[in-house]
Structures are given as C-alpha cells and as structure tokens.
Symmetry: C3
Subunit: 635 residues, 3 copies
C-alpha cells in the first residue's frame, strides 16, 4: 500500500465558488484524502425532517472529480439546536449535577435513548444516500469520542442505564453485587438494583468498586453508540469505517471500540499536547515548545496501530499553531514534515492535515490550516508538498512486528484513576515513562492490548501497572519466549477492585514474590537505589525468594527476577528504569543504544528512521541531524 | 476651580448624638464634601412603601449647617430583604447556574424588570425630596457598578433580555446573526432568536462571537440601569450626577456610562489593588507593599478623567489598611498625602477619604477610617489636614492636554478576555504595560476613548491591542500629526469577532505589513530581541515591506514603520518597550528621561509634580525625594 | 489505673469462622480493648424495623470470652440506603447548594429531625440489648463527628433550625439581632426571624456576625445530636461513653460535647496529618515524612485530655500506611511504638490501633492494619506486642498538672476562620505555633478550655488569639500567680463579632496597651525584630505606657509587659517566639532548654519521657537517642 496524505475540509464553511479551486489546489499539493461532513448536521437537516443533500452531493462531486477520495463523517458530535427542543434532557450532566448546555459540541449524553435513536436516524439517511457513492472511500463515525470530558455523564438517563447494566452484570443478584463490592464496609448495602445511584457528590470518596463499575459502564455506552452507527453504515457501504480518536483520552476502551472499525485514526496535536496533557516538566516544555514531546505522539501511533489491528491513520495532523492550549507557539520549520514521517515510520497509511483553510470565524479561528484565511499558502502546505514528493520514491507500507511490546489496558487506567494512591499518579503516565525509557534506548516498540495471549515473536514484553491481571495472561506471559517485566501494581486487584488475599499480589507463576505493603512517596522524596537512580512516587515492600535485580540503598528489594520473569515493585526514575531495561534487553538479546536527548529512531520492515526533535542540530551515529531533521535509510 | 477634600459618611450607623461633632470635626479638618446615603435603603424604607425621611433630612441639615456639601447616593446597590420577597427572581445567577443570595450587597440582576422599576421608584422618591435641597451639591447613582463580578448574570431575565437585544441588533434577521457569528461552524445555527441561550455551562468553549455579544449586552444593561436613575434625578435637581467606578472593573463600558454623568469618580485602594488586581510580580508586591503600584492608580486617574470628559474625583481614597485584600498592611507614613496629591496632579477636582469613622461592626469592620472606632484621630486625618493646608496656596485646577495619548477601549478588553489566546493575557494588562513604560520615561499621558477621531495636539499616540479597529479610526490616526504606535493584535477582528481576510490584519493605511500568523508563548520562554529586550507572551509573524524597527535575534521583524506609523506585532518586555518608545519619542520630539525605579512625575498646566513611591529616599534630578515624598513646583 | 492497648474490629467484614482465632490472637498480642459496631447499621437493620442482633451477640461473646473488653459504637455515621428512601431530605447540602449523596459515610444533616429521631431509635435499641452485657465495657457515639466537612450544612432543615436558634438566642427580638450584628451596614436588616437565610452564595462576603452565629448554631446541633444518644445509653448502661474525635476538626465545640461524655478519645494518623493538615512546610514534610509532625499529635493529646477532663484514649492509632493522604508512606520502624508511648506520656488510658486486619475491599482497602489481608502479622502488631510487654512493668497512670497552660477556644477558631484578615491565617495554626515553641523549650503543657477561671498551680499561661475574651477571664488571668501571655488579637471582638470601642482592645486589667490599628503581612514580608527574629502574618500597632519586651527594628512595640501580664501584638516567627517565651519562662521560674530539632520530652507524675522523632540518631543530654527512639526514666 502506498502511503498517502490528506486534509480536513468544511465545504459548508465556504462559498461554493471556491470549492473547485480548493479541490484543484489539494490535488496539486499531492493530497489523496479529504475528510468532510462531521459537523454539518444543521446544514444537512436545518429543521427536523427537512433534509438538504444538494450541497453535500455537490461538494463530494467537486472533490471526487479532482481525483480526491472522500472520508465522510457522521455529524452526530454536533446535534443542531432543534434537537434540544425535541430532547431537553439529552445533555450530559457534570459531576456537580449541572446540565451541560448547547453552544459548542459533544453536548449529548451517551445514555440518552432519544438521542441515540436520532444519531441512528441521521446515520442511516447519510449511509443510504452516500453508501454507494464512488468518491466516498471511507467513513468516520462522530468526532473525537470523549473529547472535552464527555464520556462520563451523571444524568438521570445514565443512572437508569447504569442500574440496568449492573443488573445484567450481576445476573440480577443484588447480594452478589454487595459481596463483590464489599458494601458491608460502611453499611452501603443495597436491597435492589434500583437503589444504586451514581458515584458523585458523595460526602467522602465513594466505593472504588462502584466508581470502577461506573467507568466500565460509561465506556460500554460509547462502544454501543458507535456500534449502532457502524452497523447502519455497513448495511449500505463497503467503504472502510473509521473514528478519529484523541490524544490521552482513556475514558473508554479504544480496543473494544476499534474492534468495530476497519481503520483506527487519531488527531495528533504535538504542541498543544505538550502544554496540556503530555505530563512534561516545565524544563521539557521549554526545550520542546515548538516541537512537541519526542515520545507522546509515537506512543499514540503505536497504540492506535494496535487499536486498528494494523490499519491506522493520523486523521488530524497539527499544521501550525493551535488555538486551545494554554500557550500556542508555531512549530519549528520542518516539524510538520517530521511529524508526518514519524507517523509513517510507525506504520500510518495516511496523514491528513487539520484543516485545509484556517476559518476566520467561531471557536477555532486561531487554529492554523494548510492555507491561510486569505487563501495564501501557510507553511504547512509547503512541508506537505515536500512529503508528497518524498513519498513518490518511498517504499510501500509493509506490516512488521517490533521486537519489544508493551501491554496497554484501558481498564487499568480506570483502576488507577479510581485509586491513584498517590496524588497525580496515573497508569497512562506509568506507561509513558516505560515507553520513553525504551525509546531512549533506540528500541522499536509494539503496543498490545491486555487481551493478547499469543506473544510469539517478541523478545521483551513490559506489562507494568495492570491492576487487574487475569490468571491466563500471567500464564501466557510466563510461557512466552520473551523476557517479561511486570509491575508495579500489577495484579493488585481482582475483577471487582478487591485486593486478592490468597496469595497477595502479584501471584506470578514461577516467581516467588509477594507485595507485603505499599507506599506512595512525595514527589520531592525519591528513594535512592544502590548503584544509581531512584524509586519515586510509588513503591512496594517485596517479600520472597526471587533474586533482587535492583535494591534501595538500604537494601530493600525493588526489582526481582526468576528465569525470564521480572517483577518491579516501584515506579523507577529514568536512571533506574534505564538500568533495569538494559539488563532485560541484554538478556533478551536486544540491540540497545543511548540515544542523544530528543533523538529517536524506529525500524520498519524496509527502513530505519531517525528523527531529531531538538531545535538544534545533533551529532549521531548516523551523522549530523539538523534541527527537526528526518533521516530515512533502507534497512 | 479650587481643589477640595471630602469623606464618606454613614449617619445611619451612628447615634444622632454625635452627628454634630462629626460634622464639626470634618469641617475643621478642611473637608468640603460628605457623601452619604448609598447603602441606606432599609432605613429609608424599612417596609415596602413606608418611607422614613426624617433621619436623612436631619443628617443633611447637620452637615450642611457646618458648611459641608453633600453628595447624595441612591441606595440601589443594597435592596432590603423585603425586596427578595417581592421579587424572588431578582438575584443574579453565576456561571454555574447558581442563584446568588441575599446577605451582602449588589444582589440584583441588571436585567430584572421588577427590580429595575423599584430602583427607579426609590430614585424618584429621593430626587423629589432632595432635588432642591441647598446642601445636596451632587448625586451619586448606586455604588461601584460591577464590583464583585456583578455585571454578568446568567439569569432567566438576562436570557430573555439578551434575545431581545440580539433581535434588535440584527434587525430581527436570524440568518444575519448566524452568518455574522459563523454558527455553521459546529452546527450552532439558530432558527429563531428565541433559541439563543446564554454562553455558560457549554461542553467546551462557546462561540467567541456569542460570548462577546453577551458581554456587550451585559454592559448595555448597566448603562440602561444607570441612565434611568440619571434621567429621574435630572427632572428634580440641577446638581451634578456622578457614579463611583472601581479599579480594574472593565465588564461594562465606562465611557458610555460616563456620558450620562457630569462627573466621573472612582474608588482608589492602592494597597488592596496591589495584592489582588494590579498584576504585579511578587517582587513588586514586596517592594511596594505599603505604597501600592506606582502606576495603577495613575492609569485610573487618567482613564476616569477621560470618562468624565475632564471632570473627575476620587470618591473613596484608601486611608489606612483595608479589610478585603489577601494581605492588608498599613500605608507608609506619607502615602495618604502622596495619593491625594497624585490625584490632584492628574486633574482631580476632589479627593474623598473612605470612610469617616471605622465601623466596628459588619463586613468592613477592619477597614480603616479617618477616625478610629474610639473616635480618636487615625493617621489619615492628620495627612488629610496637611493636604488641606497645602491646598490653600496651591493654584486652581486648570485643564491641560498631555503630549502623549493612549487609546482605551472596553470592547477590546472584552474581546481579549473572550479569547486571550495565551493563558493570562489581557488587554488591560497590555495597556498597563504601555502606560508603565511611558511613566518610566517621565511622560505625561492622556487616556482617550477609542471613539476619538480628533487627535490634534498630541505628538505620540499609542493604540495597542484594539482587536476591533474601525477603518475611520485607522484613517484618523494615519492623518494625525502624531507618531502612531499600533499593535499587537490591533484590527485583528471585525465587529462580530471574525478575522478580516481581505486583507489580513492589521490593514493600516500607508503601512505595508500583514500578520501572517500568531503565536502565544510560555511566560518562561521570552524570545530575545536583537540589541536587547525580548518579546513575551504574544508575537505575530509579520510580512510586508515596512522597515523593521525591532527584530528578534533570528531576524524576524517585530516592530515595523513607515512614516509616522509604527506597528508592533508583539507584547514587548520592559527593555524592549523602552527601546521602542524612545525611538518614537525622539521622532515625536518628546522630552523623555529614565526615572529611578518607583519615582514618577507629571506636568499640569501650572505645576510639575514628583512622587517617590519607594520606602526609601531617592536621589533625582530635582533633588533628594524622601520616602513617600511629594515635590511640587511651578512649571 | 493500668495503661492498656486495643484495636478496632469489624466482625461483620469477616467470616464467623475466623472470629475466634482473631480474638485469641488479639489477646495474645496483649490487647485489652476491641471497638466494634460503629458502621454496621445495614447488618443490624437490613430493612427498616427488621433487627438482626444474632451476629453481634455472637461477636461480643466471642471477644468477651477471650477476656477482651468491647467498646460498642452506635452506627449512626452510616445510615443504610433505605434511610434515604424514608428521609429523602436528610442529606447535608454544601456551600454551593448541592445535596451531598449516599455512597460513603456521614451523609446526614445534623438538623434533620427525621434522621435525628432515627438515630435515637437505633441507639435505644442497641442500649436496650447491650446495656447490661458484661463484655460491653464502654460505648462510642457515632464516629468522627465533623470529619469530611460534615458539621456545616446549608439544607432547608438547617435553615429552619437556625432561625429558631436565633429566635431563642435573641429572645424573639429581631431588632436586638439587627443591632448586635450591625445589619444597618448594607441595609441587611430583617423584619422577622423568618427572613434570615444561611450565609452561603452571597455576592460578596456575608456579615461576619451572621457567619459566626451560623457556626455556633452548627456546633450546637452536633452537641444536641450526641447528647440525645448519650442520654439514651445512660438509661440502660453504666459503662462509660466516649466519642472518637478527629485531628484538627474544629467546627464544633469539643469541650461542650465532651462534657456529656465520660471519656474523650481521638483518632491519631500522624503521617496522613503531616501531609494534609498539620500546616508543615515542604521541608518539614520531607524531614518527617515517615514520622509525622513532632508536635501535632502531642497537641491533640493535651487538648483531648482537657476535653475528657483527664480521661482520654487514642481510639484509632495509625499502624502503617493510610489510604487517604496525598502521599502515604510507611512509618519508620519504631514509630508505632513511639506514637503509643507518646500518648501514654500525655496521659492516655488506652491506645487502640486502627484496624485489626486490613480490609481488602471498599474505600479503605489500602489502609494498613495490625494484620495483613492474608492474615500474616503486619509490622504494627510486632511493635504493639513490644509496648504490651513494656507496659507490664511500667508505673500506673497518675494524673499530674503541667506547669504551663495554653487556653484553647473553639469559638476563637470560628472567629478567625470567619475573618482571618490575612490569607491562610488560623487560630489553630497560631496555637500550634505557640505549642511548638514551648515544646522546643522542653516544657510540659496542659491545654485548658477558655472557660477556665481557676488557674492555680500554673506558672505560665498562654492565651493568644482569643478574639472574644470575657471580662471575667481577663480578671481571673490577671489575678492568677502565673505569668500571663495574651495576644495577638485577644479580646478583639465582643460576643457578636463587633470591635469593642470603649476602650479599644485588648482592654486588659493592669496593662496599659491599646491596639491602634491592625495589619496583615505577605508571608514573604516578615518584619524584623530588633535583636533577632521577626513578626510575620499579622501585627498590631500598640499604644500605651506598658514596657516593650520586643520591638521591631524600627522601634514599634510588639510585646509589652506590666507585672506578670504580657501582651504580644503580633504573630511571631520561631526565633521571636522563643525569645519571648524564654523571658516569660525565666520570670516564671520555669526550667527551659533548647531541645535538638525533632526531639521532644514530657514529664508525668512518675516519669520523664524523651522521644526522637528524627530518622537519624540524635545526641541529647540524656544520651544518644536512636531514630524513632523512646527513653523513659523515673522522675
Ligand atoms: Zn463523481
Ligand atoms: Zn440647611
Ligand atoms: Zn460472655
């Protein structure tokens, strides 16, 4: 498969007069894909039941006739104002019990049955009309599920649906629920499922089992909402269906949702993410202000490749300054090209820039596009043209397996956020720290869902932080040929958020180690390791006969090993993590190297890529990489 | 006109026994004015319709008979408890949809028609009774409009009034509104004005055009509320009408409101403001803890002189520690005198100290007065007596025009707060930074409303940050004889918050410069200028043939010039701003000097003033200024 | 009386199979007491009116038959879910008007009459059944009144009860209330008690008199709630009644509540408190991360000894990491023993560890116990066994009076929190700073309620911060034989939160000093004292003829003295406070010493104790104290 470029376009924002010249210019820039339609409901159905297809027919035709392929989005992220008239209770409710209002986007509660039906209705109408359109080469459901904290809703509709979900989950047995949740603890026992409320506005923290169940339910509501659209589209179209996921949105299970799609896509805004969600220190934010975190996007590339079972795109690529981060600088010259090639290095089929032309109105008027509001070229289109040129001679996309894998589990993220134990701790942050460490060592990585049981082909597998770890996963890992790193906190809870007691965690086959107790540490009180590095944030007291690999300077075991199974009972700092991974890498026969700060590399089936995320040139083993430099060479 | 002093007095707080001695003591201290009545509604009308004028009759008579002139306030900032019974929905509603309650002050929604009528009723009753009273020499409407965040209300009453206001603004044409706001963006289009809600509790940010319109509407509601009182008072009284504005309250258009008044007054609390709103750094807060920001009050003096079209007072001058700031130190000895003379240096007709006697009860019991709760002299009265003495031989107040002007636009402040683009950025802050730079250079300044078109007499005019800049203003500036400094962000939006596209901003006559794109910067990442100083917070990429005056150290144009028109596409740090202003000052033939830190000077028609805001003596070109020192000399 | 140990146990959490082995193991560990029952309502009364006593009968019998004594708790902190069905409005309402929900604990409003009756009903049923049980050796009412901010409720029930409380307090005379509160200030006058609302959601701060009255009312509601249970239990049982107070919960008057109890107990969590409420600096939090603040627990020991009129326990002693602080490290080895002995050094009759076995489910699953979830010994039980062993030969508990006393007044804390005057200032913090200073000087301290009038036996009495100070207290202090230290802010308000005016505060017998005015200071602007140290946070300008003991470096009097009465008009830093206390200590003939950092000592009637709260050994005058070391020696 040839790797391709694209853009996101809103014909409804512009005079029909310029559609043709826009399309021509897109084609000339080397773009293949144009995503349209996903916010256009008020133009498709200005009043209930009065459908207006003409403009969309025409837009698709104009684009298609220039050889562009259309990704058509369902407009369900932006129900029009009249929908609020028909379904006044369709809005999500925040944790304080306040109804969220009309006037932006994503203003619906996933549990509202009336809106659910409306979303099916408009999807069916679109699928019927465009399912066979030759220019509609792919679909997108809705837009950025979960963005703006929209998975969780404390509405009455959610309350009823949650009760029903629990009734099913516990086979209509309220005593089973009481027992599973430990509701005896503070006389929280229910006599019937109808007594169960939502876990907000409680006097002190609610039962973590209650919270976790509500998060699982809320995720399932998103899956169901999406699946309903997918099923309808499939009835009318053979084109692949996608959804554009967001960065560091973990409130629903992307693997489960992705299983209903052909292609996983995501929206990559490196500079915005560095400021508002990558977890970078202020020093890192200064150093990479115009480049973005060197690993945050790569992690998502690998994650969404797994979500898409190999097929994935960047659906929205930052092309210049965005409008929504606390601070919105410009990318360094070259970064748009670097981001694009990095996505390809991680296996992307396509990279689409958001958006074609900067809109001079409404919420995103300060969001750069490929083209300026005055129709002149913006810097992004110039770098995109360069990539399009470079792609011509580049090898085709081929699937390839990495030697190293990290398990990723959305449920674990919910468990950590339900009970971080130490302020600010998160599963995602733990995974990112492990991912960064592997990247510093020049390793090519796959992300795997925690449901994986076949690990053949991997030489090193990391499974940190899986708070619930089914026995067959433990078994499959222990039986694989790879070096295995488990912990901290792995297997710390059963399926209903109870601590297993016979034996205590982690209960790993072939590894005699027990977590005797658990501490969280002040960020300003790391505990030094003998030999360099430190544990920080979270540390377990380990018992058992397994051999220590790392110890604190007072001799407490931190990481222990038996055969190819290693358990680490702490959140390690970078020095400590590098030490541990080098030991395991050597045991696994992996090639590791200490890359310069901000330099990253990845191997595919055909090529080796080097990326310099720094604002200055850096000397490397493959020569001097310029600032924002990309080096590709055949393997 | 002779400059005068006064105080704020609450006869209803004290036994009638001491009114006479209070009045005598005020007169002996050299005071001319006594403001009374503005919170006394529950004493004027203890139950609905039962009016009690006797005490107020008597109080006015006691004061008047001692030769004091009364400023009589309408009591509409504090409707009594029974009003809540008559109009249960009269309260403002906060952004979270919570009704704000009774028990303090300003507990009304400007859009509530019932309360609007009540405010007219009590104003009419007061005006009828005291309109011809010889001792009532001036009026005050209400008290500190907008204080405690009271301009914006998300009440149902506000919702209905906003719809009606929009209907008028858009000539009953909903499609015009949809087009002007770009509502197509996220399917936010309305079919009727009755569908438009208030821009709170949305899922993500609401349309900035929606927000800005709501701010303009909310400002107009304040204007209308005030105008109703003014019209009634004018029917019965020839005395001038004033309102006491607050510091850094920008939620309504003071110029528009001031146009209905004869005199603009404001309430100056330098130490409180330094802690809670001047935007000073912690180092500045330490250095000026007992003196206040050296420029914040002066800026307001100049601003409210413009609001009052030349006639302005300080209605409430801080006399000692206040009760409401995070920290409430005492003014340094001499500061009350300094503040008073500074107001006179900026053209004040009168300075009134708030309050006469510290009240030992209720919310402001820790707010100092001129007199202690035990009736002894507080430090303020001693400094006031000194000023009264000094005033005797001082020249009369004469109007005079400054050589330098800064345009100030409330609408620009709403536009910036609607979309700061970088965290913490504000128009007011930008103006204050420019004002401070001019003051460091020893320049005397006028503030002008952005509606000004006749700039004759000025040699340098600063118009930074006017996000909407009408074409005739651009023209008038370019045709004036002055050096003109425009930007950053000037002309960046049209009247409905859209980016102009043909051409892009700033579109200045005679200056070939275009803002190609815009960045906001982390506060810890200033971008150095070649030659010294830096840009910070906000910077534009400039294109065009205009000659660079300032460039970044990588050669990007930051300020460009053609003829007498300069555009600066960045928020400059103090060093950069001083560099730029010195160039322009020289071109304008202005005398500039580098004043010592904390020393400020101003020239009037007759005098030159020097003020030392420091806690230590400072050597200057006019000699050694003691701490908190004031030097006056004839021009 | 022999000093004893105990634990908190939840038989309802565990299979009946293990009750006997648990009881046996408790007895073998040397424990005497087992507290049970306080969260078990849903097991005692699974549906309304259907009582299930069997399990509790059996649990008491199993424990009792092993020689253990039971403390039986009423379960009113955790009403079951069906209670919300019967009394939908029983929930407290937060300051934003939001109803707090079911799903954790303490979800009731003290003012709700229906729930009040339910709490009496279940108490009566328990008292009837177990009042004569030979194994029930003590009672506990409810659990941790006030924890999770549960004293204050803005419910309708609270509103009605508050009106009624005020009507009584003001003898049905609304004009008396208006006058006492100064309601004329902002036209806040009421015509009837039914017009008075709760002081939340006001536009700016409510009248402090209103707020303080509401705090006093809210405290009285807790007292009444508790008294109702006490009266019922007393009808059926001769066993002493206790309640387990919390750390730094000051929202109700513990002295008043304690007056209804035989024994005061409290729940001591040194590591959690260090992180979330002790007010320690980050440096102190690092230094004492695994030991807790060296004084915070001791202060509570002395306070609750006073609340219990000599009889007090630690009902819940932290045994390992807790689950609820921002960071939850393990105690250093030896700290559980140190904390236990420290309680005994301060006169505790018993120390009970919370909890017996760590629960692997629900909210507190990460809270350590004496026994691990897998039934193995946790570190705490080993240190408890050591203490049990040491107690065998230790002398009996004997009452003893300290030479130094600090007055403590809950009403003063409410007054300070109503009007801190400077951000972050609190009465509790002021007391803690004085207590710490005395402890640094090696002094043994009693806490006394502010109602104390007989001060015989004391040589130094500290009464800082008593904002309301009755005349007879001033008199009693001035007539005592002790050195007296009063201020800052003492006597600053009358009973209704007005500043006394004739004369101004502090109005102390025999001391000519007047507070002329008051300042609060930025935390980064301490004002140096001549001779060392500084004032910080809060400082008064003092007038009068009393002799200065401390002055600022500019000569302002800070502490003044006449005879044995000293007034300090400032919050002193540690150096300044040590200087002042040494002068007074010398005058009082007290032995004082400069203890090493983190080392503390206390004398009882029979013993002298030394405690090393440091993580390293420290050399002292009694020899080298190991880390977490305890030294006892006969006096
Ligand atoms: Zn076609
Ligand atoms: Zn008269
Ligand atoms: Zn028995």
């Amino acid at each position: 498969m040839k790797r391709t470029l694209g853009t996101c376009y809103y014909p409804e924002h512009w005079s029909t007069d310029i559609w043709e010249s826009d399309a021509t210019r897109m084609a000339e820039a080397g773009l293949t894909w144009v995503r349209i339609g996903e916010f256009s409901w008020s133009r498709l159905e200005p009043t209930p039941g009065q459908l207006c297809w003409n403009w969309l027919d025409q837009a698709i035709e104009v684009l298609g006739s220039r050889g562009l392929k259309v990704v058509l989005g369902t407009p369900t992220a932006t129900p029009p104002r009249w929908m609020a008239e028909r379904h006044p209770d369709m809005f999500a409710v925040n944790q304080f019990g306040q109804k969220r209002g009309f006037g932006s986007r994503r203003h619906y509660c996933f549990s509202h049955e009336g809106y659910f039906a409306e979303s099916q209705r408009i999807t069916r109408l679109m699928a019927e009309r465009y399912g066979a359109n030759p220019h509609v080469a792919a679909w997108q459901t809705d837009n950025e599920y979960g963005c703006h904290d929209t998975v969780i809703s404390y509405s009455d509709a959610a309350g009823r649906a949650f009760q029903s979900w629990l009734r099913t989950a516990f086979d209509d047995d309220i005593e089973a629920l009481n027992a599973a949740w430990g509701n005896v603890f503070w006389s929280m026992e229910y006599r019937d499922f109808t007594e169960i409320g939502l876990p907000n506005l409680t006097v002190t923290e609610p039962n973590p089992a209650h919270v976790l169940a509500f998060k699982r339910f809320s995720s399932d509501q998103v899956i169901a909402f999406n699946r309903a659209q997918v099923e309808i589209i499939k009835e009318h179209s053979a084109a692949p269906i996608s959804h554009n996921f967001m960065g560091r949105v973990t409130d629903f299970d992307h693997f489960k949702l992705g299983a209903d799609l052909e292609i996983s896509t995501w929206d990559s805004y490196p500079l915005g993410f560095l400021e508002d969600r990558a977890g970078a220190s202020a020093a890192e934010q200064r150093a990479f202000s115009q480049q973005g975190d060197p690993d945050f996007q790569a992690l998502h590339h690998d994650l969404y490749r797994a979500v898409g079972r190999g097929r994935w795109w960047v659906m929205e690529q930052q092309p210049g300054p965005v409008n929504w981060a606390p601070y919105n600088p410009s990318p360094l010259p070259g970064m748009v090209r670097l981001w694009t090639w990095e996505a390809f290095a991680h296996g992307a089929e396509a990279v689409c820039y958001f958006r074609w032309r900067q809109a001079p109105f409404a919420q995103e008027q300060m969001h750069a596009g490929m083209v300026r509001p005055d129709h002149k070229d913006a810097p992004a289109i110039i770098e995109a043209r360069q990539v399009a040129e470079e792609l011509r001679d580049a090898p085709d996309l081929q699937p390839s397996q990495a030697p190293v894998a990290i398990l990723f589990d959305y449920d674990a993220d919910w468990a950590w956020s339900t009970q971080p134990h130490g302020a600010g701790l998160s599963y995602f942050g733990l995974i990112l720290d492990h991912y960064k460490a592997l990247r510093r060592l020049g390793v090519t990585i796959d992300i795997l869902p925690a449901e994986t049981r076949d690990f053949s082909g991997y030489r090193l597998i990391l499974a940190p932080g899986l708070m619930h770890m089914p026995q067959d996963l433990k078994q499959a890992l222990s039986e694989s040929d790879a070096e295995i790193l488990v912990g901290p906190r792995s297997g710390a809870r059963d399926a209903h958020f109870n601590i297993p007691t016979s034996p205590l965690p982690p209960d790993l086959p072939g590894l005699d180690v027990t977590v005797a107790r658990v501490e969280s540490l002040r960020p300003d009180l790391p505990r030094p390791l003998a030999g360099g590095g430190a544990v920080m944030h979270y540390v377990e007291e380990l018992e058992g006969s397994a051999v220590p690999l790392l110890q604190t300077d007072s001799g407490a075991a931190v990481a222990v090993r038996d055969g190819s199974m290693t358990y680490c009972g702490a959140w390690l700092d970078p020095v400590g993590m590098d030490r541990l991974l080098k030991v395991l890498g050597q045991a696994a026969g992996l090639e590791m190297r200490d890359l310069p700060v901000g330099v990253r590399t990845r191997r595919t089936a055909t090529e080796e890529f080097w990326f310099n995320h720094n604002a200055t040139p850096v000397e490397t083993e493959v020569g001097l990489l310029p600032a924002a430099g990309v080096l590709r060479r055949p393997r």
